[in-house]
């Protein structure tokens, strides 16, 4: 038996492949006889195509075909809704009619021998439009409740209005978050190859099975006939959860061309085709007694969505259970606009909602002249007051304590502008974090070989959090084999089904399936050979042993409210004359159940912290309200944090937490909670530094002058 591997800081098993360029990403697969595709996109947000002249494009060198709504094959577009699709509405149909619903909508597809030829021909397709009035400014759209299930969108507990009116201390403010784009380094890319009615897709995705099912529905074929291969993903942050129209375009192009087609989006196209975190406007009203007991919380928010789908996210969920309060009102609305449908972006909903809630809590602490940590401690609930269920575990107190201590919070002087370093104003701020524990059905297979090695597989994805590594660890640990003897494979629909690689559920779900499959295989091998040692057993057996396992949640969600919790403490330095803010230190403490690999988990948290710096200080898709175009659709003007923005101190604490209820592995997921809380902690620190409360992200220098 080898030493336990779960809980060890194993280095990434795919690290060498990645840094030597040997990892193959979607666009890099070598498929013979490849044709290249380029997309013509609309430059209006609403209207119809009046004319589309493809003559010059068709004559351009190397062009195989120009596909528009006039000559595109009619696609089946059978009903299909995967988990990441909006529950209400119908996905965008590409090249099926003359309707334009959003800026950058695909309106023609050019297929050519080379990429350059395709791109050039796409540029000389001439289009005229019949423009219709477009709603492209959130401020000009009246929000409405989403369709159906009104009970989910507007929730009341107690008497929030009268309780707020009667509260001795009140805060009532509006917080705005602009649209943000995911901006992964790897562009979305698909290679599509048909063989009769069977289709192979090499695709950048966070869920191969959903791509197969969506494309099967779009083309009216059986999902078994679509194979999707996606071993490596160069970042996605949620943009790869859905199967977007470009995948359909690649498959459509391959059908028209009669040969494999590759389609790679440009950076500019990434702002028009793969979703974004929606612009949100939130109003939070908090009422409290003099001793800091919350008496009322009213939290309303609305966010942009498209005219054809009602995208919603968990904007207000945390407000219902994070802090104890007898009187709560939440109302979530949407603003349908002529934009493409937003989607999940790291900690969707929670990151945005908690920015508003935790900023308002800080404002309340100021109004009460109370330490913000103390305010939260005074409102610690002893159960989920919304679901009326106990928490399976909740380590908030320990997170506040551990992070505050590591940070040195006790040294903080409460008054704004009271801490300085040279010219700089220093600010210390904090916020809470939470994210639900998600666990979904998953399957895995383990194959033990006579040479004492094992192959373990599941159709999971790894967009960066380290699935390759953590699953190898769980498998090797369960089998009792050295890690080098275990080969884990993911990202292929031929493998046992895994759930969506989102919602921080991969470790819980796929990890539990891998563990179960490995246990089963090991038990079979040891039992069959009558041996105690797996390697010996396999030698004796002389043939492979295979075991597949399926795991699924039981009724624990009926018995428990299950969430990860955390606390984030931040130090900023603000130049009072020039308005520049730099984050100097972040300390985060998380109660996230069992930590399978502390090294990779820490990387996750650091990534979340840096993402939070982006959200707080710079990220902003500058949508032109006149026409819905994203003016900064490139990485020069859309600023994401660079190395120099990463603070020298990023301290991650995992508080000891054993939760037997959540799932067999006892993990809660980390990918998303790591982002939640960072932006409000920074905004709160900026207030502490400057005395200025900025309620619209990002907090750029102009807002602090």
């Amino acid at each position: 038996m080898t030493a336990a591997l779960i809980g060890k800081s194993v280095s990434r098993v795919d690290g060498r492949l990645k840094v030597t360029g040997a990892a193959t990403y979607a666009a890099e697969f070598e498929v013979p006889n490849l044709a290249h595709a380029a997309v013509v996109r609309s430059i209006v947000a609403n209207g119809r195509i009046a004319s589309i002249d493809t003559a010059e494009a068709e004559r351009a060198p190397g062009v195989i075909a120009v596909v528009t709504h006039r000559n595109a094959p009619r696609l089946a577009y059978q009903p299909h809704k995967g988990l990441p699709d909006a529950a209400v509405g119908e996905r965008l149909h590409v090249l099926q009619d003359d309707r334009v619903n959003h800026q950058g909508q695909p309106i023609a597809l050019v297929l050519a021998e080379t990429l350059e030829q395709a791109v050039y021909a796409a540029e000389v397709v001439r289009v005229t439009y019949r423009n219709e009035a477009a709603a492209t400014d959130v401020a000009g759209v009246d929000p409405v409740l989403p369709t159906g299930k009104p009970a989910e969108w507007e929730i009341r507990r107690g008497e929030p209005d009268s309780a707020f009116e009667q509260a001795e201390f009140r805060v009532d403010q509006t917080y705005v978050i602009p649209r943000e784009n995911h901006n992964p380094i790897e562009m979305f890319a698909t290679i599509a190859a048909w063989e009769g009615d069977s289709l192979t897709l090499w695709d950048k995705t966070q869920w191969v099975h959903n791509v197969a099912e969506e494309i099967a529905a779009v083309f009216g074929i059986a999902a078994e006939n679509v194979r999707v291969i996606s071993p490596f993903v160069g970042g996605a942050f949620g943009s790869g959860l859905r199967c977007w129209p470009h995948v359909t375009l690649a498959a459509l192009g391959a059908r028209v061309a009669g040969r494999p087609v590759k389609l790679v989006l440009s950076r500019r196209e990434m702002y028009y085709g793969v979703g974004y975190r929606p612009h949100t406007v939130q109003r939070v009203a908090l009422g409290a007694s003099r001793d800091g007991q919350l008496q009322a919380i009213r939290h309303e928010g609305h966010q942009e969505t498209s005219t054809y789908e009602e995208f919603t996210e968990a904007l207000l969920s945390a407000t219902r259970f994070l802090h104890a309060c007898p009187n709560v009102h939440t109302r979530h609305r949407i603003a349908p606009m002529n934009v493409h449908t937003p989607t999940y972006m790291r900690a969707p909903g929670e990151a945005s909602g908690m920015y508003a809630l935790e900023s308002a809590m800080d404002e309340l602490a100021v109004a009460l002249d109370m330490d913000p940590v103390e305010l939260r401690l005074r409102n610690e609930p002893d159960k989920d007051e919304f679901k009326d269920l106990p928490f399976s575990s909740r380590s908030t107190r320990e997170c506040y304590r551990a992070a505050a201590e590591r940070f040195g919070w006790a040294q903080r002087t409460a008054a704004p502008r009271s801490m300085r370093d040279g010219r700089s104003l220093i600010g210390w701020g904090m916020a809470s974090a939470t994210y639900p524990m998600n666990y979904a059905p998953a399957s895995a297979m383990a194959r033990l070989l006579p040479d004492g090695t094992a192959e373990v597989m599941s159709a999971a994805s790894d967009m960066g959090p380290g699935t390759w590594t953590s699953m190898t660890q769980v498998a090797a640990d369960t089998l009792g084999l050295p890690i080098e003897r275990v080969k884990f494979t993911l990202g292929d629909t031929n493998l046992p089904r895994a759930p969506i690689h989102g919602g921080s559920m991969t470790m819980a779900s796929v990890g539990s399936a891998v563990q179960a499959a490995c246990r089963k295989a090991r038990d079979e091998a040891l039992g069959g050979a009558g041996a105690n040692d797996l390697e010996e057993a396999m030698k004796l057996l002389g043939q492979a042993i295979e075991a597949t396992a399926d795991v699924a949640p039981g009724d624990e969600t009926k018995r428990f409210s299950m969430h990860a919790f955390g606390a984030v403490f931040v130090e900023v330095a603000v130049d009072p004359d020039l308005g520049e803010t730099r984050v100097r230190r972040i300390v985060g403490a998380y109660g996230a159940g069992r930590v399978v690999n502390p090294k990779i988990a820490r990387s996750q948290c650091i990534g979340g912290m840096i993402g939070g710096i982006g959200m707080a200080l710079m990220e902003h898709s500058a949508v032109d309200p006149r026409n819905g175009r994203v003016t900064n659709a490139n990485l020069a003007e859309y600023a994401v944090p660079v190395h120099a923005d990463a603070p020298p101190v990023m301290d991650v604490i995992f508080v000891d937490e054993h939760d037997p209820h959540v799932n067999p592995l006892g993990v809660k997921g980390l990918g998303e909670i790591a982002l939640v809380g960072v932006a409000p902690a920074i905004a709160n620190a900026i207030f502490h530094a400057t005395g200025k409360r900025v309620r619209e992200l990002p907090i750029t220098p102009d807002k602090l002058l």
């Binding site: 430059i43 020039l578 220098p701």
Partner: protein, 332 residues
């Protein structure tokens, strides 16, 4: 990308014979040096020349410092100039401006000539999804005037164009009275850098005074700029790798606690690298006391015009001047 022929002339005179004209979108022939800006513009279909004339290997890339001052060839890279010992010691403002520009990868590839002639970052200029851009398509209008204009200029603007000239290097050089040496089929001439770029007025598509075919062969900085106390201050939304929101290049000579002479230029706010003689005159003979600096810096706002999102720059640029002078003065 529009198909083009790439010409690789053997020498400079062969290069000149193609009649390339930088900085005009209707020019069918253009030069390409490091390509760091040009390739983006080609890819985005903003520039559509039929012919690209490569300057690789035909221009001087030397860096010399002599009694006349500093001279570097137009083909010297940003990285080479930034790291050159003599530049670092005698003209630190230039080195600083360069090191605050772009990224190491870009600086390794980008040339001095290309840096001065890089095109504006105005997002409407760079997105052919917008029809209105007088610089790209003369007479089409200016989408920035009523648009997302946080990135735009407040000095030297017109009602036809408010695009910023994005180079940091040019801001430092214009403060140091640099000149560019030009060569055309008609011969050589030298033009002060302050006169290389034109104001947009009602012809924003004409960006420079270069005649067809002319290239920048070298840049010179007079010796009297050496040894001044200087500072290049660059303000932006993130700590590195971003164009300036506002930048200030200052070089001062002090006598005791007083300023004898000052040179001040601003970036991120002007339609061309913006020298401020009125501020310089006001600074002369003042102390380094913040209030005094501030009242001199206030003159930078003369004629400044914000367009909404960029209004804050008028205040921020004054503060940037004050801070840059303070830092330069503190280097005593």
């Amino acid at each position: 990308m529009h198909p083009f022929v790439l010409e690789r002339p053997r020498d400079l005179s062969a290069a000149l014979s193609f009649g390339a004209q930088p900085g005009r979108n209707d020019a069918p022939v253009e030069y390409i040096a490091g390509g760091t800006d040009m390739v983006q513009l080609l890819q985005e279909y903003v520039r559509r020349p039929d012919r690209l004339v490569s300057l690789a290997g035909v221009l001087d890339d030397g860096i010399e410092i002599g009694p006349q001052g500093l001279r570097f060839g137009a083909a010297a890279t940003m990285a080479e100039v930034a790291a050159h010992q003599g530049v670092v010691e005698q003209f630190p403002l230039i080195s600083q401006a360069l090191l605050n520009s772009a990224s190491p990868q870009v600086r390794n590839q980008a040339t001095m000539g290309g840096n001065l002639l890089q095109r504006t970052r105005c997002p409407y200029f760079r997105d052919v999804g917008y029809e209105a851009c007088n610089k790209r398509a003369p007479g089409s209008g200016c989408a920035a005037l009523e648009g997302e204009n946080r990135w735009h200029a407040v000095l030297g603007t017109s009602d036809d164009c408010i695009a910023v000239h994005p180079s940091d290097l040019a801001v430092a050089l214009v403060a140091l009275d640099a000149s560019v040496e030009l060569r055309g089929t008609g011969g050589d001439r030298s033009v002060p850098l302050s006169e290389l770029h034109r104001l947009p007025r009602d012809t924003p598509h004409l960006e420079t005074v270069l005649a067809p075919g002319e290239v920048i062969t070298a840049i010179t900085v007079p010796a009297n700029a050496a040894g001044l106390r200087s500072h290049y201050l660059k303000l932006r939304d993130r700590a590195s790798f971003e164009f300036a929101v506002v930048s200030a290049a200052v070089a001062i000579e002090t006598a005791g606690a007083r300023i004898r002479q000052a040179r001040v230029a601003l970036g991120g706010v002007g339609t061309k690298p913006w020298r401020l003689p009125n501020v310089e005159q006001a600074l002369a003979d003042r102390s380094l006391e913040p209030g005094e600096l501030r009242s001199a810096a206030a003159l930078a706002a003369e004629g400044a015009q914000g367009r909404g999102h960029n209004d804050f720059k008028i205040e921020l640029m004054q503060r940037a001047i004050v801070r840059a002078v303070e830092i330069a003065g503190a280097h005593a």
